[in-house]
C-alpha cells in the first residue's frame, strides 16, 4: 500500500547514501622520494605533485603541472644530468626507476642475519612476510627427535614445495634422529646438514636476504633454537607444463621437444644433447621485484671469453622492476633497440640452442619463459631451421633458396605491384595488362587504397586467428580469408589479382622461420607500399638501399649483422646453400671462438683405404 511517506520519498531528492565506486587516489605514500625534502615542484617533474608532508589528511593539491615531455635519459647524458641535478638542488629531477624494494628511512630488514634466538627469528620472518595475513607462507614448528630435543621451525611456501620430499625430511628430523647432538649449538646447523638431513641440496645461510631468496623459490628453511644459521633444503616441486611439442618452430625431420617454463627443465634439455663437461651454466638474477633467475650456458673451451663477459655485464647491469619473459630481457640487452630488425635469436628448440652453443655462441635462459635467447645472431641464422641440417644437403639447399625467394617476396611484392600498375605500365605484357586493367575497371577505389585495405584486413584476420579460442581458430581463419576475399571480389571492392597477391605475400611471410623477423618484414611492407605508390620503382629502389645500408650497419653483440656476407669473413659452408656435412670443417669465423676447427679434413673415415694389415675388425 502506498502511503504518503513513500510517495514523498519517491518524488523528492534523496541523497545517494551508498558508497561511491572505488577510486584509486594518490596518497602521500605513493611518492616516497618526494618525501625527501623537496618542497616545491620543479618544471620537469612528472605527474602531479603533492607537498611532501607525511600527513595522511587530505592535502591541498598543488595545481597539476602540464605533463612535460620527458626525454629518455641516455647514459652519455647521465653525467651531465647528475651535474645539473647537483646545481638545481631542490628542483627534484627524478632519477631512473627506484632500485629495490627498500622502504625509506630504515635499514632494510633483509640485511639482518639470523639470530640465535628462535623467537627473534620467528618475529623477523613474520615481519618480512607479512604473516599472518600472507596465507601462502607456512611456518611449522617442529621438535627435532634428538636427545636433548631441539626446537625449531620450518618456513616454506605452500604450492612451491614438493610435499613428499618434505615429509621425508621431516621424518628424518623428527623420527629418525638417533645420533647424539653436539653440545655446542653453533655447530648444530652443520651437524644437521651433514648427518641428519637426506635432502640432496642442503646449504647453510645466515643472512635473511639469502634465506628469503631461497624460500621464495621453493626451498624449505629450517631454523633451530640457539643456532645462528638456517638450514636451507631444496624441496622444489610445483605444477608446471611438461616437455611439449614446439608450437611455432615445427620441423618434419628432427627432434620434437621444446622448452618449457622451468629453468631446470630447460637446462636439462640442453645438457641432454651436449654431454660435455665444458658446458658451463652460470646463474644471474634480473628484475628487482620478480627476481627471475637467468642462466647463461656456453662451452668453456669454445666461446670467446670476451663475449661471455659482455653478456654477463649487460644482464647484471639491468635495473628494472620485472623481467617476466625472455622477450623483455632481449629488448633490454639489444644493441640497437630502435631498429626494426631483430638482432637476437629466440628459439624454443633445444637442438637449435645446442647447435649454437657448439658453434661458440652463448645461450640465455630466463626462468618462466620457454624461449631461449642465443647471442650473437646474424640475419642468416634467423633464416635457418634445423630441418636443412637434418635432411640431405640438396633438400636443404632447395629449401634455403625457396626461403630466400619468400623473404624477398614477403615485403616487396605489394610495393612492386603498385609501382608497376601505377607507374610502369610498360613492364607487363600487353595481354596481362589488359586483363588487369579490365578487372580494375569495376573497382571504385584507387590502387593504393585497395592494397592497403586488403593488407589491413589480412593483418586483422591473422591477429584474430591467433586470439580466437580453441577449435574455432583455424576454421575462422580459413573461412574468414576465403569468404572475405571472395565476397570482396564479388562486391567489386578489390580486384581478383590483388587477393592472390596478398595471399601469396602472407604465405611468403609464413615461410620465414623466425617470427620476429617475419613481423618486422610485415612492417617494412607498409613502407614499401607507400614508396611504391608515390615514386614507383625509384621509390622502391631508394627504400631498398636505405634498408640495406641500415641493416649492414647493425651489430649484434659485436658481430656485424650480415656476416659472413656483409663483411666477408671466411666463406661459410652453411649460409645460403648448404654444402654436404662433411665439408663443414670450420665454425663460423665471425664468432672468433677459441677453436675454429670443427671437423678434420676427412670427416668420413670409412672413405680412407683400409690399412695394410687387413684392417681392424669392426
Amino acid at each position: 500500500m502506498i502511503n504518503v511517506k513513500n510517495l514523498l520519498k519517491l518524488i523528492t531528492y534523496q541523497e545517494n547514501s551508498q558508497r561511491e565506486g572505488f577510486v584509486l587516489e594518490e596518497t602521500v605514500h605513493d611518492h616516497p622520494k618526494s618525501a625527501k625534502g623537496e618542497s616545491s615542484p620543479g618544471g620537469e617533474d612528472s605527474h602531479g605533485q603533492r607537498e611532501a608532508q607525511a600527513e595522511p589528511a587530505p592535502q591541498k593539491k598543488a595545481p597539476a603541472v602540464r605533463r612535460a615531455f620527458k626525454k629518455p635519459i641516455r647514459p652519455a647524458d647521465k653525467a651531465n644530468h647528475k651535474q645539473k641535478k647537483k646545481e638545481n638542488g631542490a628542483a627534484g629531477e627524478s632519477q631512473p626507476a627506484p632500485t629495490s624494494s627498500q622502504t625509506m628511512g630504515e635499514p632494510p630488514i633483509s640485511n639482518l642475519s639470523v639470530s640465535a634466538s628462535l623467537a627473534e627469528n620467528r618475529k623477523i620472518i613474520k615481519k618480512l612476510y607479512g604473516l599472518p595475513a600472507n596465507k601462502d607462507i607456512v611456518v611449522r614448528d617442529i621438535v627435532l627427535g634428538t636427545s636433548p630435543a631441539i626446537d625449531g621451525f620450518i618456513v616454506f611456501i605452500d604450492g612451491l614445495v614438493d610435499k613428499s620430499i618434505q615429509n621425508l625430511l621431516l621424518q628424518a628430523l623428527m623420527l629418525f634422529a638417533v645420533r647424539p647432538v653436539p653440545a655446542e649449538r653453533g655447530q648444530l646447523a652443520t651437524y644437521v646438514k651433514e648427518k641428519m638431513l637426506p635432502g640432496n641440496q642442503v646449504v647453510l645461510k645466515s643472512r635473511f636476504n639469502d634465506i628469503l631468496n631461497a624460500v621464495n623459490y621453493g626451498d624449505t628453511a629450517l631454523f633451530l633454537e640457539g643456532c645462528a644459521e638456517a638450514v636451507l633444503v631444496e624441496t622444489k616441486g610445483w605444477e608446471h607444463r611438461g616437455v611439449d611439442l614446439p608450437t611455432v618452430e615445427q620441423v618434419v625431420r628432427g627432434p620434437h621437444e621444446a622448452f618449457s617454463e622451468t629453468l631446470r627443465t630447460n637446462t636439462a634439455l640442453i645438457r641432454k644433447i651436449i654431454k660435455n663437461e665444458n658446458l658451463t651454466t652460470e646463474l644471474l638474477t634480473v628484475g628487482s621485484r620478480n627476481r627471475a633467475l637467468v642462466a647463461i650456458m656456453y662451452q668453456r673451451d669454445l666461446a670467446n671469453p670476451a663475449l661471455v663477459a659482455e653478456v654477463k655485464r649487460r644482464i647484471s647491469s639491468i635495473k628494472t622492476d620485472r623481467i617476466i619473459d625472455s622477450g623483455m630481457l632481449e629488448e633490454m640487452i639489444m644493441d640497437t633497440p630502435y631498429n626494426l630488425t631483430p638482432t637476437i635469436l629466440a628459439t624454443e628448440r633445444p637442438d637449435r640452442v645446442a647447435s649454437g652453443i657448439i658453434d661458440g655462441r652463448v645461450a640465455i635462459i630466463v626462468d618462466g619463459s620457454p624461449y631461449v635467447l642465443l647471442v650473437p645472431a646474424t640475419m642468416y641464422e634467423m633464416l635457418h631451421t634445423g630441418e636443412e641440417l637434418y635432411s640431405r644437403w640438396q633438400l636443404g639447399t632447395f629449401i634455403r633458396l625457396l626461403r630466400a625467394l619468400a623473404f624477398n617476396l614477403s615485403f616487396l611484392l605489394p610495393g612492386l605491384y603498385l609501382a608497376v600498375v601505377l607507374f610502369h605500365h610498360e613492364m607487363i605484357p600487353t595481354e596481362l595488362l589488359l586483363a588487369i586493367a579490365g578487372n580494375r575497371e569495376r573497382v571504385p577505389l584507387p590502387s593504393l587504397v585497395e592494397v592497403l585495405l586488403m593488407e589491413i584486413s589480412f593483418e586483422l584476420i591473422r591477429e584474430a586467428g591467433l586470439r580466437i579460442p580453441g577449435a574455432m581458430g583455424t576454421t575462422i581463419g580459413i573461412v574468414g580469408a576465403l569468404v572475405l576475399g571472395q565476397a570482396a571480389v564479388q562486391a567489386n571492392i578489390v580486384s581478383p589479382v590483388l587477393v592472390i597477391l596478398v595471399a601469396v605475400t602472407g604465405l611468403a611471410g609464413f615461410a620465414i622461420p623466425y617470427y620476429s623477423l617475419a613481423f618486422s618484414l610485415r612492417i617494412y611492407r607498409f613502407y614499401y607500399i607507400i614508396l611504391g605508390a608515390t615514386l614507383g620503382f625509384f621509390g622502391i629502389a631508394c627504400g631498398l638501399f636505405t634498408q640495406i645500408v641500415l641493416t649492414a650497419n647493425l651489430k649484434s653483440f659485436g658481430v656485424p649483422y650480415l656476416a659472413p656476407i656483409g663483411p666477408r669473413t671466411v666463406p661459410g659452408a652453411d649460409v645460403v646453400t648448404r654444402l654436404p656435412l662433411f665439408f663443414h670443417e670450420k665454425r663460423p669465423d665471425y664468432l672468433n671462438p677459441q677453436d675454429i676447427t670443427s671437423q678434420p679434413d676427412i670427416a668420413r673415415g670409412w672413405l680412407e683405404p683400409p690399412a695394410k694389415d687387413g684392417g681392424k675388425d669392426y
Partner: protein, 426 residues
C-alpha cells in the same frame, strides 16, 4: 623538445611534398592503351593519325568469364583518327575526344601508308625515336591504300587483341619468308646507315575475295610461276580477316621507291642470310609445265667474297647454300632416286640463281637502292670511318658487279622414299 617539434614539422612537410599528386602515377583505369598507330598523308594538313585502342572491359571479360562468346556487342578494340600536324600533336588532339589519357606504352605496330612513304618519312622518325613512350621494338609496316582503312578493317577473328596478331606475324615471317618483320630499331638504323638501305614489309586489306586470282601456268598464264608475283592486297583469299601481309617495300633513304613481291622477298632474305624456311615451287625440269615444290631452308649463312679494285669498282661473289626437302610433286617421276636427284637440284639452283640476279638487277636499275647490305661486307676494306664515308658506297651501288651462285642439296624426301607410277586406267 623544440627540436622534436621542428623535426616533426619537417617530416610532415616532406610527406606532403611526396604525396601531393604522386607525380606521374597513373592508374590503369585512367589510361587508354594505343595498340597500333597508323600514319596517312593528310589532305589539308600533314598527317592523318589513326590509332587502335584497346577496350579492356571486353578483353578481360572474354579472357576470364568466357561470356563474350557470341555477343559481338562490344568490340575488343576501337579505332579513332585525326588529321593533324604530327604524331604527338595528333595524340594530344585525340586526348580531347577520349575520356582517358592515351598512352603509347604498348604500341606494337606502326603502319605507314604508301603515299606517305613515297613522300619521305625521315622527319617523323625523329619524333618517334625521341618520344619516351614509343619502344624501339615495335614493328613497322607499309600498307597499300590508307592506313586508316587498314587499321579499321584489320579484325583478326581468333585474337583477343590486335597486339598478339602483330607479335605473331613476326614469328610467322620466319616460317615462310614471304615478308619479313622489321622493328623500329632496325629500320631506324638502316635509315641512318651508310651501308644499307631500309626496307619494310607490305600489308594491305583485300576486299576482293577470290576474284583477284591470276591465271596459273596451265590455264594459259605466263610460263613464269605467278605464285610469287602477288603483293599484299592481291592474294585471292576469301575469309573473315581481310588483312594480308605479303611482299616488301623498298626505300631509298627515307622515300619509298617501289615494291617487290613475295617470292622476291624470299630471294632478298636469302641474300641477306635471314631466310629461314619456306615452301617454294618451281617448274619441273623434265615435265613442264608441272611443278615441284621444296621445303627449303638456308643451311649456312651466305659466303660473300668482295673484291675492290684501285678505282673503286667492286665485284661481289655470293654463294648461297640451301637445303631442301622434297615436298610435293605433280608429275609422278621418281625424283627420289639418285639418277634423277641432280636434275632437280640443278633446276632449283638455276631457278633461285636467276631469281636473285633479276632481283639484284632490279634494285640496281630500277630502285638504285642496296637493300641487301653489301656495304657491310665492303667495310672491311677500309680502316677508318672517314675513308669509308668518302667512298659513298650507296651511290656506287648501281655500278657494282654482283654474281650469285646457289648450291642446293636435297636432303630428305618426306615420308615417301619412292614414287611408283600409277597403273591401270586409260
Amino acid at each position: 623538445m623544440r627540436a622534436i617539434k621542428i623535426f616533426a614539422l619537417f617530416l610532415a612537410v616532406l610527406a606532403v611534398v611526396f604525396l601531393t599528386g604522386c607525380f606521374g602515377s597513373r592508374e590503369t583505369d585512367e589510361t587508354t592503351y594505343v595498340l597500333a598507330m597508323g600514319l596517312d598523308k593528310g589532305e589539308k594538313d600533314n598527317l592523318i593519325l589513326t590509332v587502335t585502342i584497346a577496350n579492356p572491359k571486353v578483353i578481360a571479360g572474354m579472357a576470364g568469364g568466357g561470356g563474350g562468346g557470341n555477343g559481338k556487342g562490344a568490340e575488343s578494340f576501337l579505332t579513332a583518327s585525326v588529321e593533324t600536324l604530327g604524331p604527338i600533336t595528333g595524340l594530344e588532339q585525340l586526348n580531347t575526344a577520349t575520356s582517358r589519357h592515351l598512352s603509347l606504352l604498348h604500341t606494337k605496330a606502326l603502319v605507314i601508308s604508301e603515299e606517305l612513304a613515297q613522300e619521305g618519312i625521315g622527319k617523323w622518325f625523329s619524333t618517334l625515336s625521341r618520344y619516351y613512350e614509343l619502344r624501339a621494338t615495335s614493328f613497322v609496316f607499309v600498307c597499300r591504300g590508307k592506313a586508316k582503312d587498314f587499321l579499321e578493317k584489320n579484325k583478326p577473328p581468333l585474337e583477343i587483341s590486335p597486339t598478339k596478331q602483330y607479335e605473331l606475324i613476326g614469328s610467322l615471317s620466319r616460317a615462310h619468308g614471304l615478308y619479313h618483320d622489321i622493328t623500329f630499331k632496325e629500320f631506324y638504323e638502316e635509315l641512318k646507315s651508310r651501308s644499307i638501305q631500309p626496307s619494310l614489309p607490305l600489308a594491305a586489306i583485300h576486299e576482293g575475295g577470290l576474284e583477284t586470282a591470276r591465271p596459273g601456268v596451265k590455264q594459259g598464264g605466263e610460263l613464269e610461276l605467278p605464285l610469287g608475283k602477288y603483293i599484299a592486297g592481291d592474294i585471292p583469299i576469301a575469309g573473315e580477316n581481310k588483312a594480308q601481309f605479303y611482299g616488301t617495300a623498298v626505300f631509298q633513304k627515307d622515300k619509298m621507291v617501289g615494291t617487290i613481291s613475295g617470292e622476291e622477298t624470299r630471294f632478298y632474305l636469302m641474300l641477306r642470310g635471314k631466310f629461314e624456311t619456306g615452301f617454294m615451287n618451281f617448274l619441273d625440269p623434265l615435265s613442264q609445265p608441272e611443278t615441284l615444290a621444296f621445303l627449303v631452308h638456308q643451311a649456312r649463312s651466305p659466303k660473300y667474297v668482295t673484291r675492290m679494285s684501285e678505282d673503286g669498282s667492286v665485284t661481289i661473289d655470293i654463294d648461297l647454300y640451301l637445303e631442301a626437302e622434297l615436298a610435293a610433286m605433280l608429275s609422278g617421276i621418281n625424283y627420289e632416286s639418285p639418277e634423277y636427284k641432280p636434275f632437280i637440284e640443278a633446276a632449283f639452283s638455276q631457278y633461285v640463281q636467276e631469281g636473285c640476279q633479276r632481283l639484284i638487277q632490279r634494285t640496281q636499275e630500277e630502285f638504285k637502292a642496296d637493300i641487301f647490305g653489301f656495304g657491310e661486307q665492303l667495310k672491311k676494306h677500309f680502316w677508318t670511318v672517314p675513308s669509308w664515308t668518302e667512298y659513298k658506297w650507296l651511290e656506287r651501288y648501281p655500278e657494282a658487279q654482283v654474281n650469285v651462285t646457289v648450291h642446293t642439296r636435297v636432303r630428305r624426301t618426306g615420308l615417301q622414299l619412292k614414287t611408283m607410277p600409277l597403273e591401270g586406267g586409260q
